[in-house]
Every structure is written in structure tokens, then in C-alpha cells.
């Protein structure tokens, strides 16, 4: 293995990290190129059936949430939020929405990706981010872009057949609309092929995040947060499957070679909520100095997993629309507390977690609302210390580093005291 390239901050970048930068750059370049050539641009929520869009050669897919997260990770969040605030959007709204609205109405200025090409169709759903329907409605109002809203029933248990059929019916509507708007007939074989690529990618994603169980962990959750970008934007592509295979293989090689991100790991933590994009490097470095590693996160293990399961859903070649409807019931937001607790308890046991950091996120009420009850459940059922900190996933102005670290350090001290007393 050749010497690792160092980033500006001195952090060693893995080859998969370098590769990620390249494939994401290629993705945004291809997106803009496609739009310039007259391709049909869809803006979608992160969990809409992206694989279905692969059945149309003329469609390119953009994900405002992922684009906003990228801006926040590049320390551009406040600048773009302020643009929306100057248009009178409240500071209390989700920072992803403010970044996206600020960027979109400023023609992509200040975005390294030049923003996103203007959409021909908006597709939102209400099973992950309930705000997103209203957020996309802004573009519908301002630009007159058609807006397809996918209604996914909330779940407390395994998906009911009538709910599954209800989602499939909506997919048929979506296909009809796409065929009418693009003038192209859906190619279901391409959808099936796309599902196979996603399936392959999720298999390797699972391999990658499972290196958290190694002692010391082979990964940090911060690495996995960053590597999530193509799951959101490139589902159903061979590039995604290849990249996650490369990522998992490289991680396996590093673990076998004894290369660990936090070699002196003394505390193994789990993170609950969306990544604090503006703090990734800062938080991981400060934790590393304390011998602590956030090894896993509900945000990263929820992708591809259904209804409180830790393992990803495995597509076995059945009807693509049926499989895509099943995949709407991912583990975190569209599920009740019981299923969320089930998935987290399993992660804690499998990975070997010492403590949980519940990050109450000012921007994401859907993710945060039940955290207090989940914290109580996990503390009692798993018998490990937990802590609640305040964050905002993309607006650094609503985050206090010292306040957060006081609580995290107190959590580490509690873990230490329990070990000493054990």
C-alpha cells in the first residue's frame, strides 16, 4: 500500500477517500452536462426510488439534501442559510432547507458544484423528512415545477400488504407522469439492473460499517458519514457498487495490516442523528485526543435496512416495484420508537458500544422528537451510559462546541467510573 495522502488538516486520506472525491465530482459534472444537453432533471428526497429513474435514459437525478450537506461540510452552511433568511425564511427552519433555498434562488453562487441544474420534476416523500414536502413546494410555487408527493404510511411493525400496494399504485402514477413528461417509455429491465447494483453496493456498505466491531474499530462514523454521499445520489449505478467494494476492501486491508483510525481507542461510542457536517474533522480530532471514537451511527446503519433491522434488505430479483415499495420502510424516520430501539440495541450489542451520544438536532425534529424516550430505553435495556447534546446538522451558528464536549467528556468519565467500579 502506498503512502497515504494527507489533507490540509493533516488527516490521512484513504484511497477510498480520494476516490470518493473523484466520483462525486464526476457525478456533479455529469449532472450539469446532462442538464445542458437537455436531459430531464429530477430533484428528489433521499429515499425516493432512485432505481426507478434509471429506467429512463433521459433522466438525471439531483438530491438537494445531499447537496446541502456537502455545502455544510465545506463550511459554507451559514453563508447559504443567510441568503434564505434574507428572503424572510425563518432561522428556525431546517438548515438543509435554508441552504438549498438560499443556493437555488442565488443561481448556485458560492457552491463549489455551481448548485444544482433547475428541475423539471420534484419528487418528495413524507416517510423520511416531513418538511421536505413544503420545502419542495417553494420551488413548485416559484418556478411552476410539477411536484409529485409520495405518501408512505408510518410503520410500527412490518409493512402491511395494503400499504405496500398503496405505494406501488403511486409508483404507477409516477411512471405515467415521467413517461408523459420525458416522452420515453420506462425500461423495467434497467430498473431491475439498477436494483441489482444497489443490492451489491449495500452488501459492501454493510461490510464497511461492520469493521466498527473490530477492536480497535477499523472505521470512525465520521468516515462513514462522508462516504454516504453516493448512497444518496448514485443509487442504482455500477459506480456506486464498485466504489463501496473498493471502500470495504481497502478497510479490510487496513484492519488486517493493523492500521486503525484511533489506535489508542478506549471509548467506543454510537451517534444518533444526522452527522454534524460542520464539525466532522474538529469533533473527530478532539475525540481522538481523549481516546474516544464514534464508531457507528444510526444515520449510517439505517440505509438499506428495514423496520428496525440492522442488516440491509436483500433484493432477490422479485418484482422491482414490489422491492422498491418495501425499501420505503427504512429503519429510522418512518418507524415508531419500538423499531428504532430494536435496531439500536442490536447495533450496540453487535458492535460493542460503551456509550451513546444522542444529538438533539435543531434542524431535524423528525429524527429528534423521540430521542428522549429512546435514551431512557437504551440506558435501561442496554445498561450503558448515554448523553444528550444539542447540535444543528448544517448551521454552525446553532452549535456550541464547549457545551457539547462538556457533556461528551462527562459521558466518557461515566464510562471510566463504571469500569473502575466494575
Amino acid at each position: 500500500m502506498s503512502a497515504d495522502k494527507k489533507t490540509k488538516t493533516g488527516h490521512k486520506k484513504t484511497k477510498a477517500g480520494e476516490r470518493l472525491t473523484k466520483i462525486m465530482t464526476d457525478y456533479y459534472v455529469d449532472l450539469h452536462k446532462g442538464a445542458n444537453k437537455g436531459k430531464f432533471v429530477v430533484w428528489g428526497a433521499i429515499i425516493i426510488p432512485a432505481e426507478l429513474l434509471k429506467g429512463f435514459d433521459s433522466v438525471v437525478f439531483a438530491v438537494p439534501e445531499s447537496h446541502a450537506a456537502t455545502r455544510a461540510a465545506k463550511a459554507l452552511g451559514p453563508m447559504q442559510c443567510e441568503k434564505a433568511e434574507q428572503m424572510s425564511y425563518s432561522m428556525d427552519l431546517c438548515s438543509y432547507a435554508r441552504i438549498d433555498i438560499g443556493t437555488a434562488f442565488d443561481g448556485g453562487k458560492g457552491s463549489p458544484t455551481f448548485g444544482l441544474p433547475k428541475p423539471d420534476l420534484l419528487i418528495s416523500n413524507n416517510n423520511n423528512c416531513s418538511l421536505l414536502v413544503k420545502w419542495f413546494d417553494v420551488y413548485h410555487r416559484e418556478w411552476g415545477t410539477p411536484h409529485f408527493i409520495l405518501d408512505v404510511p408510518f410503520c410500527y411493525e412490518s409493512q402491511k400488504k395494503k400499504d405496500l400496494n398503496y405505494i406501488i399504485d403511486q409508483y404507477h402514477d409516477l411512471i405515467r407522469i415521467l413517461e408523459e413528461m420525458t416522452g420515453e417509455k420506462l425500461d423495467m429491465e434497467k430498473v431491475q439492473e439498477a436494483l441489482n447494483y444497489t443490492n451489491e453496493a449495500l452488501k459492501h456498505w454493510k461490510r464497511f460499517i461492520s469493521f466498527a466491531a473490530n477492536r480497535p474499530s477499523g472505521i470512525t462514523a465520521f468516515d462513514s458519514f462522508v462516504q454516504m454521499a453516493p448512497i444518496l445520489t448514485m443509487r442504482g449505478t455500477p459506480e456506486l457498487a464498485e466504489h463501496f467494494k473498493f471502500l470495504a476492501d481497502e478497510t479490510e486491508e487496513r484492519v488486517e495490516a493493523g492500521i486503525f483510525p484511533i489506535p489508542n481507542e478506549r471509548y467506543r461510542l454510537l451517534w444518533d442523528n444526522i452527522a454534524p457536517w460542520h464539525q466532522l474533522r474538529k469533533m473527530s480530532s478532539r475525540l481522538a485526543k481523549l481516546g474516544a471514537n464514534i464508531v457507528s451511527a444510526s444515520y449510517t446503519y439505517c440505509f438499506g435496512s428495514l423496520e428496525g433491522n440492522f442488516d440491509p434488505y436483500h433484493y432477490e430479483g422479485s418484482d422491482p416495484l414490489w422491492a422498491l415499495a418495501r425499501m420505503q420502510n427504512t429503519t429510522i424516520c418512518p418507524t415508531g420508537l419500538g423499531l428504532r430501539c430494536k435496531a439500536m440495541s442490536e447495533a450496540i450489542e453487535r458492535i460493542g458500544i460503551d456509550g451513546v451520544v444522542f444529538a438533539s438536532n435543531r434542524s431535524c425534529k423528525v429524527y429528534s422528537l423521540m430521542q428522549m424516550d429512546q435514551q431512557k430505553y437504551i440506558s435501561e435495556k442496554c445498561g450503558i451510559p448515554t448523553v444528550m447534546i444539542d447540535v444543528d446538522h448544517a448551521d454552525v451558528r446553532k452549535y456550541s462546541e464547549e457545551n457539547a464536549f462538556l457533556r461528551i467528556e462527562a459521558l466518557l468519565e461515566s464510562i471510566g467510573a463504571r469500569r473502575a467500579g466494575a
Binding site: A410, E413, A417, R418, G421
Partner: protein, 276 residues
């Protein structure tokens, strides 16, 4: 607390115990506190405003406390720092959060204590202890000044009343005013409005204390109160807040003379426990 007896330190030195003192430094947002311990006894402590330079404050305070004891830094062994400025105390052997330090301080002073309410300059905390004095759970205020010492400072300024007199004045109230806003700035506007309507200072101050107590009680209920309860931090000196909290919680609250230096005492106790 007691001063060193004449010849006590010299005797220790003759026995080969040169570094006989352990020190806790609590560098808080508003005030800095120091506690000095010897042979399991707290022998000195002090409080000063943190001001612009946290480093200068703790150094000067420590020198003063040691000087009052008739000793200097050469007698100091282990030092533990705590508080928001815990990482600026460069000579500390260890930085420990005030959550753990308050627990250690409370357990050292009264081993029956099972929970602590700490209301300081910029935050408020509730800490539940297990039977061995270890932190079992805790909760803190979120990013808001309501329910903290800063809230009281702002209100004292609006009412032109010395903060030290707040507690006693509020006890004279017969009909506390209602302060409904959770935001310090909005609450200040409410207070100004009450003043203009001719509401008495006693009733306004009592209303402020009830608002703080209500806010802190919400935080306490996230963890669940356990008796006996100790109150620590500078706001514990305000009898009005203590009484309002007792009413809200339906439980007695112990306030020791050492309330404001409880975190520093805990730091000194933990310093004494450092091995090597």
C-alpha cells in the same frame, strides 16, 4: 475548613512529605473557585470573578489562597482543573468535567446526597448519583440563559437591585408576578412591562425565581429527583430560588456554606485520588 496549624506543614516536610497539598481549580464562566486539601480535609478555598483572563484569575486566586494558608506552590502536589476553562489550567495534572467534580464534592461533604442541582453563571445542571457517589445520570439546560445565573444578573440590572439582595426581597412577596417567557431577552421585556404597570419589586423578583425554578424543574424531571438533594453553584446563595425550587419539587434542598466552591472541592478530592 481550617487554616494549617503552626508547624504542621514543617512537620510534614520533616516526614518527607513535601507535596502535601492537593488543589482543585474550578474555572467557571463567571467566577473562578479554588479549594485546597490536605490529608482528607479541605483547609482553604476562595472565589473570584473570572473576568477577561481565566488564566490570570485562577493563578492569582490560587496564590492568594495558598498565601492565606502560609504556604506556596512548592507545597502543592496534584491539581485537578474543572469548569468551562478546565483546559486553560496548564499546570493541572488532569482536567475533569464539573459534572464529575460536583458529584465528588457533594459525596465528600455529605455521603448521603443522591442528587445535585448546580446553577452557575451560564448553565444549570442536575446530577443524579448512585450510592457510591458516582454520576449515574445528568441533564443540562440547552442553549439558553433561562434558568441560569446570567438570567438573574440581567433581571437584577433591569430592576436596579443588588443581586445579593434578590433572595431576601423575594421572601417578602405575597403575590408573585407571572413571568411566562423562556427567553432571557423577552423575560427582561416582561419585567420592564411589569415595572411600568406598577408591580412591586418583591412580586417581580419572586416571579423571576418561580420562572427559574419551573425551568430547572423541567430539566430535573428528565432524570427524576432523588433525595437528599444538594444545591451547588453561586445561585444556591439565593434563598428565593432555593425556596421556589423546594416548592416546585416538593422536596427539601440542602445548601452548604461551600455551595459555590463545591466543584472545586470535588476537583481537589479527585486530585488526591490520582495515583503515582
Amino acid at each position: 475548613m481550617r487554616a494549617l496549624a503552626p508547624g504542621e506543614l514543617e512537620h510534614s516536610r520533616e516526614c518527607g512529605l513535601t507535596k502535601v497539598l492537593t488543589v482543585g481549580v474550578d474555572s467557571g464562566s463567571n467566577t473562578t473557585k479554588v479549594a485546597v486539601m490536605r490529608n482528607g480535609t479541605i483547609i482553604g478555598s476562595g472565589v473570584t470573578f473570572t473576568g477577561y483572563s481565566a488564566e490570570k484569575s485562577w493563578k492569582r486566586l490560587l496564590e492568594d489562597v495558598l498565601s492565606d494558608l502560609g504556604v506556596d506552590m512548592s507545597s502543592v502536589g496534584r491539581i485537578v482543573s474543572t469548569g468551562y476553562g478546565r483546559n486553560v489550567v496548564g499546570i493541572a495534572d488532569k482536567a475533569i468535567t464539573e459534572i464529575t467534580c460536583h458529584a465528588a464534592g457533594a459525596h465528600f461533604l455529605d455521603s448521603s446526597i443522591r442528587s445535585i442541582i448546580d446553577v452557575g453563571g451560564q448553565d444549570s445542571k442536575f446530577i443524579a448519583l448512585d450510592g457510591n457517589g458516582r454520576v449515574e445520570n445528568f441533564a443540562m439546560n440547552d442553549k439558553c440563559a433561562a434558568g441560569t445565573g446570567r438570567f438573574l444578573e440581567v433581571m437584577a440590572r433591569a430592576l436596579e437591585v443588588d443581586l445579593d439582595k434578590f433572595g431576601e426581597i423575594s421572601l417578602q412577596s405575597e403575590n408573585p408576578a407571572r413571568i411566562s417567557s423562556l427567553c432571557t431577552v423577552f423575560a427582561e421585556s416582561e419585567v420592564v412591562s411589569l415595572i411600568s404597570k406598577g408591580e412591586s419589586r418583591e412580586n417581580i423578583i419572586a416571579g423571576i425565581h418561580e420562572a427559574i425554578a419551573s425551568r430547572i424543574t423541567s430539566m430535573i424531571n428528565r432524570v427524576g429527583v432523588r433525595c437528599p438533594v444538594l444545591m451547588a453553584g453561586g445561585v444556591a446563595k439565593n434563598i428565593g430560588v432555593v425556596k421556589a425550587l423546594e416548592r416546585e419539587l416538593g422536596a427539601d434542598i440542602k445548601v452548604l456554606e461551600t455551595a459555590q466552591v463545591n466543584g472545586a472541592i470535588g476537583a481537589a478530592v479527585l486530585a488526591a485520588a490520582i495515583e503515582g
